[in-house]
Structures are given as structure tokens and as C-alpha cells.
Symmetry: C2
Subunit: 650 residues, 2 copies
């Protein structure tokens, strides 16, 4: 897509955006505040800007007089970038530049960290779990009527130096006709062993040379969503991807309610068949999308949290929610995908990621493997924030991990107007420090309906830096604005009045919401700190942070440090990997070395039940402040806020 | 059962029989001829004997006057032995003793040869394919919440020195509840590897100590019949056995017609599901009969000929009947029995015997293994005569084998009044050399309906020794008896006139029948001779013969040598093993060493396609005589016949 440079005046700030991007989003990314509370539907008419040069599409509205339009005035929320632009923010639409400079840094483009395919190839690690070998077998005659499979095995041994071969029943069924279809020239699909001294298992056979057609499917089984990818095992590329809601969701949004349901009557069978049906639907879509033939799929890899994995495998998760939280198994055998009802050819082998414990699941292990953390020297904090928050700290020699009972705040749970990252969710926010008027950016540029996790973090961080709330998350009662008010004894800030909101009332952020966010971030931060202290290290020893989860890709890194969710660290040392579970599943299809190393890695991952760990409660209570009761842990924020106070005072 | 001694006078011959045995059968076993053509229903009234001491049940009939009855006369065919007896044959009922002495030796009681259980135990070879280990796992608590399966594996390693463990998905499903049912004391079912460095696979887990309850099922998949056994893997004993007709039989009696049917439309699916349904029915019956619980079954072992095995596994047998007769595979992987529709618990592993070629199948390999031939020094001829005849010659170092196109004569096929060994079949026979009157013994002691394989051999051998037929199987046209006659240009002998037969006409044996028998026995004998000559040996080098197949148990050994089916050998060196396929299947459940050695054994078995072997046709033509064109190959018979001629001449 074409990219354009947008320059904002008088701030002299530039940002590069894609064609069609709205000016309000561009301004947010440039760190330029424009009052805009309606979320970008041109309702409030406050986001007036002047296009000094270049071209935008749209931007006009009844809110702008003909005269203003001729002067170049447009509403930023309605304007789409069509060329390089110079945009002037009129005085009424911006605040003092000195203050703006103290605002959020433009969000870093997410850096995707994963085991690099080229690296894998160089290191000889690009050895897919299943590969294909073309064989020309001797044609049987009166002097040689050896069985077809024996003939195949002998040709593989002799001409291809393949040894320790075994084969599936389905190969016996296929080979008589397949071999004779192409004059005994066939392509064998061979599942490679985890260890070099293991067996090479012939799982399928096709007529002629089909070695260039070898595909895998990787699936992330999330509590909320299920994502699948078709992977080309020759090029390593992802050919198609699709995600859908886990249809178990109608039996409860979180893990615990699923477990409760699974314990009732045929609940387990029901949840099992629901997840299988969602997976089958996702598989069907990505096979179609990628244009491959289902018969060409050689393997399918899965990663999910412990409960999702057990439901997927029809294992009763009853004991996962009961102390001492014992899962049925941490390591899963390979099995035929058809065995559990997956609609793939019967030769397809299914691999499921092992896990560490009931609450540090295969999704986390997949991320640790797929990101390469398991073989790195650096002391890394791996964090996956989704419905639950899991944390792994360590390097190639050791790892400690824990699940943090963060609660669902980051997914909008427990927040008065919280919502998932869907259309109408406020995902970004700034505030005019003078007028306390907000700039809301919503997903889909529609009227605000609520606030999602990343919006929540940004709101709270911004308000804290602006001293609109204090370090306990309480609103400054002295501020002169009607946006802060008390309702039924609870203080709240009005993000969008009802007349510009997408719902039938004001969109607000309450002190209770802020308190819930603080508890959530406190649980995660104190979890990290507890793990570190258990191994005699401190937050300052961390070399880098890996953020996984869809959520991680949307958040403003500096703001997560402002609220004390992440420790202060050079943003360059933070990488985002998106869906770590899906990435790990994909990587395990691409390189057998992951399957070889994963069991040892899991065994190296020491699980902590934080509720049973003595220092956790102290750490937790200390973390229930913005950013933390020990301000010294966040020196850059302190410096920034001191500077701000000094500037405002001057 | 109580056994009694019956002494026949004036021949002074004794035989030991079971209580209730008929006197006519006892006479036959003692080598005493009594005229009796009606098959034992008291119709012809010719088999009059005098009970001199002891007691019989029955034996009276309208054919005996009150006076005769008081003198002790009874009809032998109606008399059942109730005590030790002295029986006198009246003059009219017996022929010259000198001649009788030349008659058949009493049939040897079949000696069952198999790998002996005690031997196995002594040699440490009694290691069932699947065994059970009782484990007490540590109970999880706040400081130890390791996964259930990991807990189990660790306890097995620590307390039971079990290593290289892996486990099935079904174990993961069972363990959470099973472990908590008996306070983490469980019994694991472990499938042992074929090689010592292989994996020990945990396939099931039960609450508490159930180590004393470990069972296997062994199944022989025959073209005609399917036999199953429940085996106690602790004692090694067979708890129940049951056989039923293979319900595929309605789609053809022989292998070729089954293959032809399998090639049509959904023929393969149909034949597959038919054999599976018969097996399921047999399994259901033997489980019920043995009183075990299906859940206690650990493994199921199968043996069958190549076509039956392929149909059982749903592998198209199309190429088995087409030159160069290539089977799909000779070695089969272990798999879960439920995978192919067997109605057993899902943990049950199925093992299928490997085979040598399209016509030397897993049933023969099972016999070679189960009889221990594969580990013996002696040069052995293993022979299985059923619908087809297969021959294996060799010892622990090498083996050669072939299928002989014997045709179905031994099962009554191609014989005018041939029938299977069922009620009414003449199974034994002798003839009065003076009158040429027959003594027929039928199965079930009913009127003769036809003649089965063993009866046919006995008839032909007896008539040959009596010079009623010559060495080409032609009747002596000069004999004065109305039992030999010409009908439509074909000579025949009337075994039973219509008025005493069980059918609406005379039961006869024709020269065409005899010719078919000669071709059948010629094919087998020449097969053996060809195999031996291919390895530079001769018939005289054989140390022993193992006869397998139901048929083998019924035949009169000396008579098989008389017709030249078997080479002349000391009868002590011939053993009968009955159903070798079933025995081999059973033994492979009892000792893992068979599974370890069987692949090497199969690889050591060199298959000959006799039709492609040059010397076969010459050998075959030379064998189309009674006993053979080279009389020197049967010196004892020659001596016996010379002696007889001399005696009769004197």
C-alpha cells in the first residue's frame, strides 16, 4: 500500500501513514492532540484542521461552513490521507506544544520476533516434522514378487539412505493401487522422529513425484478464538490464515466456567465436540483459501492452554480448578488427527504442545519455543496477556513461570463500559491538559461504545501523567471540568457524552474501573517480581521482554510502563510476537528441533503457584499503586513527571 | 473322562477308548475289521459281535433275535463302551487274521507340539506382549502438583525400574478419575516393545491392584472358519474357545472368489465388514464364556492367510491373484483394535502375524512360530492342509516354503460325493479282502451321506493295499463283487447302497474321485520334493513332520504315506498341532520373543512359486501314482505289499 508523510503544524511533527488512514489516527500516532470525543463520526465537530498542502478524501460535514471549507478546514476524523500532507492544527484544536512534547511517544511498530526461517535453514534446523521423498521402486516380475511395502522400504534404504522405517496401516491400504498408477514411482510422506535414533514413519504414499506439495496446518486453540494457518513446508510460508470464535464460548467466557460445564453430565463430550467443530470449520476455510488439496496435508500442530487442550483431547479438566491444580498430563503423545474427529485425511499426524502446569499451558510453551527464547542467552521476560496472564522468566539454562490471576480487565471484563477490541471500542486516547477534553480513537472510527484493554491502559496512564488521577487511581477532586463527576458516590470521567456516543448513555471511566486495572497490572508486575526474587534476581536484571497475545500488539509500550504493568526497560528491548501460541504451533511443524527440545524445555520450566508463594502477597500490595509504591523502580517516569511539574509550574 | 480297555478276540487286539465310545470305532482303532456299511445306525445288521465280558450300553436291534441277544450278541455300531470289555468277532464278521495283521496300525493319538509354557517360563521367555504393573503414586499436594501421568511415569521409574515409557491418549483420559478412585494406587497396563531398546507403552490404567487380571484374545481368521480364544496372560491358560463360519463364505468358498468379489464396487468394504462382524461375534461369545470383563483384555493377536489378512485390514487383495502375485505388505504394524471396528476397549492393541508371500500367509508363519520350528535344529517339514496346502521345510537357520495347488479334494471338493468333515461323512473305512464288503465309520454314527478328506485317504489307501485299485488308481476289473461297477464309462465302488445310505442314492467312490485325490497328494508331495531339491536335499533327509490344520488331526498317518501324500517316516517323528494359526496367535500373546523373532524368521523363509520352478512339473508327474512312480521312496509300503502278496499267495 502506498504510504504518505503527514506533517502536523505548528508542532512540526511528521508521521508516515498508509493511504486512506484517518487524520485523527495519524495525529495520535504523531503524538499530536486534537480534541475529538465522538470517535470519528463527525458528530462533535471539534477536530477541525486546515489542510495546507496535499489532498484528503472526505472531511467535510454540516459542522463546517462553506467558507471554512474553502479555507481548507476539514474534520480530522472524517479526512482520509490521499497524498503527502501538511496539516495545521488551529489554536482551538491544540494545546501547548511544550506539554505535547511530554505526551506519548509515537507507538513503536511491533517488532516480530520468532525463530527466523533463514536462520533455521542456515543452521540446518529447517527439518519439517513430516517430509516427502520421491522413490522409484523396482517393478515386480516373475523373479521378484516381494510385497509392495517391502519393495518401497528397500528402495528407500538403498537409493535414499533412509533407515529405521516403519509404516502405517493406511500405507498398506494405499500402496497397491498408488504404486501401479505411476509405474512404481511414488512419493512417500515420512513423519520424522523426535530423536535421531527414533523411527521414520511412512504415513502416506502418492503416485508420481509430489515432493513439492507438502503442507501443514497449525492451530491455536484459544479460550475465546481459534486461529488456523496453512503452512507450506517447502517454502516455510503461511499460505492462509483464519480465526473464528471458539464455539464453546456459549458455555462460558472463561476457563473456570468451561470446566464447571464440563463436569456436568455430557458436558465434556459437548465442549469437546464444539471445539472440534470450530477447528474443523477453520481448517475447511484455510484449506479452501490456500487452494491446496486436503490430501496434501501432512501434519497438524496444536497449541492451547491446559484447559483448552484437555477439552480438545476429551480429557476431563475437573482437577485443574481444584487445589492442588493437577492436570491429567503435561506431555501429549502424537496421534492420528482423525482419532479425535478432525476432518483431515487419515494419515495426518497431530502434535499437541506440552505444558508446564494447569495454568501455564501449551500456548505459553509454544511462544517460548517459537520465539526462540528457549535457546537464547539473554534474561528474558515472556508475557502473554489474554483472558489470563502468564509470565515466564529465564533463558536457555533455566526458566521460572507462573500464571497471574490478573482477571479479565485487559479484555474489558470488570470494567463498567469495558469491551473487547471490537468496533466502537476506544483504543487510544489523549486529553487536553488545560480543558481536560478528550481525543478518543475508536476501532472502526465509529462512535464510542466502550473501552478496550489498550484504551484503558492509555486512559489511565495519560490521566496519571496529567495528574488527573493520583497514584492510587483517584480523580483529582479539584479539577474544573464537568467531565469528572460523582455518581452514586463513585467518581468517573466522561469519555463521550451520550449525544456523541454509540450507546444510549455516556461512556465513562470510573474509579472502580481504574482500581480493577491497578489490581490486574499489580498481579502481573508482582508475579514477575516474585519469580525474579525467587531466583535471586531483580527487575533490573531483565535483558528484554517478549510480549505475546493479540493484546500485546495494540498497547502503547510506554503507557504500560507508566501504569506499572511492564517494568521500565528500553523500548528497543521489547518485542511483540502477536499470537505466540499460533507461531509456536507453526514453528513446530517447520522444525523438528522444537519437538526434540520442547520436552527438555518444559522440564526446565519451574512452575510457581503464586498463591502458595510467600513473597507474592507483599509484592502484590506494593504494586497496587501507579506505577508502584516504590517509585524508584520507574526512574524515567519519575523524571518525566518531575519535568512536567517543573514546566507547568514555570 | 473314564477310559476302558477293549480286547477283540480272536485277534487278541486291545485298544483303550473313552467311556461311551462305539464298538465299531473301537474296532477301527484297534485295526479290527467288522463288516458295517450303514455307518452305524443298525440298519444293515452286519456288525454282530459277542460281548464275552463287561458291559455295553445299547447294541440291541430288531436285527438280533431274542436268542442271540441272550447269547451276548450285539450290533457293534449301536454298542457303547461302559466298562472294560472282551469282544469276540464271530466268523461271519471278520476275515483272516493274517490279513488283518497287514491292516492299518491303530491311529496314533495326535501329539500336540507347541512352545511349552513351562519351557517358556524356565527360559524367561514367558513375557506376554502386554503386562500389568501395580504402582503407588505419591499423592499430590500444595508442594507437588505434577501432572497425573508424569506422576505415574515417575513412580514407575523410581519404584519399578521401568524406563523408556510412553503413553496413549486414552491413558490421559482415564487417569484423573482412576487415580483418585483408589488414592493414587493404580494398575498400569504396559505394552512391551518388540526390542529391548524399544518403548514401553502405557495403554491403560485401572484403580487399585488388578495385576492378576490380564487377558488376551487370539484369533485365527480362516477362509472357512474363524476361531477365537481367551487367554489368561498370568497362567498362560486358554479360558474359552469358540469357532464360527467366516460370514464372507456367502461370497465364495475359496480365496479366489473372495478376491474377485472384493474387486467389485464396494466388495472390499463388504467383505471387510463381514469378517469384522464374525470376529466381533466370536469375541463376544468367548468373553462371555470365560467370564472376564472386556475391560480386562489387554491385547488381541491375529493370524490368517494373506487374502484373509488383507480383507480383515481392508486392503484390496486384487494383486494377490494376478501374476506375479504381489501382496500389499508382508509385515503389519501394531494398531489399535478399535481402529478397524473391533468391539473391544479402545486401549487394546492388535497384532497381526506377518506373512511370507501371497500364498504363504500369516497362518503358516504362526504355525512355524507357535510350534517352535523356527528355533529347532532338526530338518522339519511343516505342512498345513486346509482349503489350500502350504509347506515349509527347514530349521532354525533357513526355511523354504511354497503353496501347493492341491485343490479342495481334502475338503471334499471335486469328489463326486465329497463333503466336509460333518455328520454323515465317512471318515474311516476298511474292507474285507475276501468279500470286498466295507466297514464305514461316519461322523456322528449316522447313515453315510458322503466322504470327507480323511475317509477318502483311508479308502484309497486301503483299496490300494488290497490291490482293489492299482497304482494309477484304477479298479481291478477282475474282482468279483457287485460293489465295483461301471456307470457311464466310469468305474466306481459302492461304499453304501441307497437302502443304508443317508441320501437318496448309493454313496460311491469313482475313479475320477481317486484321480483328483492323486493329483492333490501329488501336488503336495512334489511340492515338498521340489523345495528339498532346490536346497540340495532329499525326502530322506527329513527329521520330522509337523502337520497342522483340522484335517491333520483326523487322518490316518500310515495311510497318508500309503497314498504318497506324506513321505515315509517313522510315525513317532510326526506331530499334529491342530490349528497352527490359532496356536501361533495365542503364543505371540504369551511371549514377546515370538514378536521379536518373527520378522527375522519371515525374512529367512524363502518363498518358491512352484509354477515358476523348473523341476516342479517333473516331480509332479512322477507323483501321480500310488504311492509314487519311484516305489523306492516308500520302501516300507513296498515290503508290506510284497509280504501281503506272498501271504495271500501261500
Amino acid at each position: 500500500m502506498t504510504q504518505y508523510t503527514v506533517s502536523f503544524q505548528p508542532h512540526d511533527k511528521e508521521v508516515t501513514v498508509e493511504e486512506g488512514q484517518s487524520l485523527i489516527r495519524a495525529a495520535m500516532d504523531a503524538g499530536v492532540h486534537i480534541n475529538a470525543s465522538c470517535g470519528g463520526e463527525g458528530i462533535c465537530g471539534k477536530c477541525r484542521v486546515i489542510i495546507e498542502s496535499g489532498e484528503v478524501e472526505g472531511g467535510v460535514s454540516e459542522q463546517l461552513s462553506q467558507q471554512d471549507q474553502e479555507k481548507g478546514y476539514r474534520l480530522a476524523c472524517l479526512s482520509k490521507v490521499k497524498s503527502d500532507l501538511t496539516v495545521r492544527i488551529p489554536t482551538e484544536s491544540y494545546i501547548d506544544a511544550k506539554v505535547l512534547n511530554l505526551q506519548a511517544t509515537a507507538r513503536k511498530t511491533a517488532r516480530i520476533k520468532q525463530l527466523n526461517l533463514e536462520d533455521l535453514k542456515e543452521k540446518g534446523m529447517f527439518v519439517p516434522a513430516v517430509d516427502k521423498v520421491y522413490v522409484e521402486m523396482p517393478v515386480p516380475d516373475g523373479t521378484d514378487n516381494e510385497a509392495d511395502v517391502t519393495r518401497l522400504v528397500q528402495a528407500l534404504q538403498k537409493d535414499h539412505n533412509e533407515h529405521r522405517l516403519e509404516f502405517d496401516l493406511s500405507v498398506i491400504r494405499k500402496i497397491p493401487d498408488v504404486a501401479r498408477e505411476a509405474d512404481f514411482k511414488v512419493t512417500t510422506t515420512i513423519a520424522r522422529p523426535v530423536r535421531e535414533d527414533g523411527k521414520n514413519r511412512i504415513i502416506s504414499v502418492h503416485a508420481g513425484d509430489t515432493t513439492e506439495r507438502n503442507f501443514a496446518i497449525a492451530v491455536d486453540i484459544g479460550t475465546t478464538s481459534i486461529y488456523g494457518q496453512v503452512i507450506d513446508l517447502i517454502s516455510g510460508e503461511v499460505l492462509a490464515q483464519y480465526g473464528d470464535f471458539n464455539s464453546q464460548i456459549s458455555y462460558g467466557e472463561d476457563i473456570i466456567s468451561r470446566i464447571v460445564y464440563a463436569e456436568k453430565g455430557d458436558g465434556l463430550e459437548k465442549l469437546h465436540s464444539l471445539v472440534i467443530s470450530t477447528i474443523n470449520s477453520v481448517i475447511g476455510k484455510i484449506i479452501k483459501k490456500s487452494g491446496i488439496d486436503a490430501e496434501e496435508i501432512s501434519t497438524i500442530t496444536f497449541a492451547g492452554n491446559t484447559t483448552m487442550t484437555q477439552l480438545f483431547l476429551k480429557v476431563n479438566p475437573r482437577y485443574i480448578r481444584r487445589s492442588p491444580y493437577v492436570p491429567a498430563a503435561n506431555i501429549y503423545p502424537a496421534f492420528k488427527a482423525v482419532e479425535i474427529g478432525l476432518e483431515v485425511p487419515d494419515h495426518v499426524t497431530a502434535l499437541v504442545y506440552p505444558q508446564v502446569s494447569s495454568y501455564v499451558g501449551g500456548d505459553i510453551v509454544a511462544g517460548v519455543m517459537g520465539s526462540g527464547m528457549y535457546q537464547d542467552e539473554e534474561l528474558t521476560l515472556y508475557m502473554d496477556i489474554g483472558t489470563n496472564a502468564e509470565v515466564v522468566i529465564g533463558n536457555k539454562d533455566w526458566m521460572v513461570c507462573a500464571a497471574c490471576s490478573a482477571g479479565p480487565a485487559f479484555e474489558g471484563g470488570g470494567i463498567k463500559l469495558g469491551m473487547r477490541a471490537a468496533e466502537g471500542a476506544i483504543e487510544d486516547f489523549s486529553v487536553d491538559p488545560a480543558t481536560l477534553e478528550p481525543m478518543n480513537v475508536t476501532i472502526g472510527n465509529v462512535r464510542p461504545k466502550g473501552i478496550c484493554g489498550s484504551g484503558l491502559i492509555t486512559c489511565v496512564a495519560t490521566m496519571f501523567e496529567m495528574s488527573i488521577i493520583d497514584n492510587r487511581g483517584k480523580f483529582n477532586r479539584d479539577l474544573e471540568t464537568d467531565r469528572i463527576r460523582e455518581v452514586d458516590g463513585v467518581y468517573e470521567y466522561v469519555l463521550a457524552w451520550q449525544d456523541v456516543s454509540g450507546i444510549d448513555r455516556d461512556v465513562v471511566l470510573t474509579e472502580i474501573d481504574i482500581d480493577n486495572l491497578i489490581r490486574a497490572k499489580g498481579a502481573i508486575y508482582s508475579g514477575c517480581r516474585t519469580l525474579l526474587s525467587e531466583v535471586g534476581l531483580s527487575i533490573n536484571d531483565l535483558d528484554r521482554i517478549i510480549m505475546a497475545g493479540g493484546f500485546g500488539s495494540y498497547i502503547d509500550l510506554e503507557k504500560t510502563m507508566t501504569i506499572g504493568l511492564l517494568p521500565e526497560i528500553d523500548p528497543e528491548k521489547v518485542t511483540f510476537i502477536g499470537n505466540g501460541s499460533l507461531m509456536g504451533a507453526r514453528m513446530s511443524a517447520l522444525t523438528n528441533s522444537i519437538r526434540r527440545d520442547v520436552v527438555a524445555t518444559v522440564n526446565r520450566m519451574t512452575n510457581f503457584e503464586l498463591s502458595e508463594t510467600q513473597s507474592f502477597m507483599d509484592n502484590y500490595i506494593a504494586a497496587l499503586f501507579l506505577p508502584h509504591t516504590e517509585q524508584g523502580l520507574f526512574p524515567k517516569l519519575k523524571k518525566r513527571m518531575d519535568e512536567r511539574r517543573r514546566q507547568l509550574g514555570s
